[in-house]
């Protein structure tokens, strides 16, 4: 056991422990905060595994943006402060399938890698990863940017009630005669 192993073990324990809390806690907001701990521990894992850029992107995007979005959603859906009892459905099938997936994958991976040891590769710094992305992976990168743009447009269209939906959602009044053409084209879109 080297220092890296001990660090990986400790960070993995933190990640799995806070992951358990994310899926079992009765407080909505606390679930988001445990998710921060879990994602932060994973970022530490990435650092130990010499993936510097991925670790910092994880901190920036996951901890910085995704969790903040999730907490926004918790607030916008008027989640109760404090414990709520109706978060779970009775679920031994969930425990069965989830436990089966987790333990099955663990057994598979332990069987594949045993207790063998590998040397850590060169650090995945921004320079090296940038070279790779912009030399070998340019096409997926560009496709991904188009996908991000379409996801952005999709989110905007979904969350604006006056786009892509027939007229009267605007203010609830029945559509007057002069609005009919507009409402119809909206309905067919």
């Amino acid at each position: 056991m080297t220092g890296a192993d001990l660090l990986l073990l400790a960070l993995g324990a933190v990640a799995v422990g806070s992951g358990v809390l994310v899926v079992t806690t009765k407080h909505l907001v606390r679930a988001g905060l445990y998710l921060v701990i879990c994602l932060g521990a994973l970022a530490g894992d990435y650092l130990v595994l010499s993936a510097e850029l991925v670790a910092w992107v994880q901190v920036l995007i996951y901890v910085g943006a995704v969790v903040v979005l999730l907490l926004f959603a918790v607030m916008l859906t008027r989640a109760p402060i404090g414990a709520s009892d109706d978060l779970d459905r009775p679920g031994w099938p969930a425990a069965l399938i989830g436990g089966g997936a987790g333990l099955g994958l663990s057994v598979l991976l332990v069987d594949a890698y045993r207790w063998g040891s590998v040397a850590l590769p060169d650090a995945g710094s921004a320079e090296r990863l940038g070279e790779q992305i912009f030399q070998s992976w340019v096409l997926p990168f560009e496709v991904l940017s188009v996908l991000l743009l379409s996801a952005l447009v999709g989110a905007v269209v979904l969350s604006r009630p006056d786009i892509g939906r027939p007229g009267p959602a605007r203010d609830g009044r029945p559509a007057p005669a002069e609005d009919l053409a507009d409402a119809d084209s909206g309905g067919r879109r």
Binding site: V23, T77, L109, L152, A155
Partner: protein, 122 residues
């Protein structure tokens, strides 16, 4: 470095994510469990980058970056859908969502349909 440690961590996190998706009723918590699963996959990719000798160096880390971007897009669209669901039904419990078309047309569509009928009758 023993690769089995992060691999097992990732497997357990994936199992936790599956459990959370199946167990939770609140749509926001379901999205959080999906994030757990995506992160487990990322950890697998980054670890595989150290164990597998690929033709292109650091492929696993590049894939992990791509998955992070996909997760960001997913969470944006997912939250827009959840908020729209909350606006329409005033609930985010996923098992309250009707999977079939309701017998009565949804309120938002009624007047437009009536308008079309009126226009057709003219």
């Amino acid at each position: 470095m023993r690769p089995v440690i992060p691999y097992v961590t990732a497997a357990l996190l994936f199992g936790l994510g599956v459990y959370g998706v199946l167990r939770r009723r609140n749509a926001v918590l379901v999205l959080m469990a999906v994030e757990l699963m995506l992160n487990a996959v990322n950890l697998i990719l980054v670890t595989a980058d150290t164990t597998a000798r690929a033709v292109l160096p650091h492929s696993g880390q590049v894939f992990a970056l791509f998955v992070i971007v996909l997760a960001a897009a997913e969470i944006g669209v997912g939250l827009a859908i959840v908020l729209q669901l909350y606006r329409l039904r005033a609930t985010v419990a996923v098992d309250d969502v009707p999977l079939t078309e309701p017998a009565r047309p949804a309120d938002a569509r009624e007047p437009a349909a009536a308008g079309r009928d009126r226009e057709a009758g003219r």
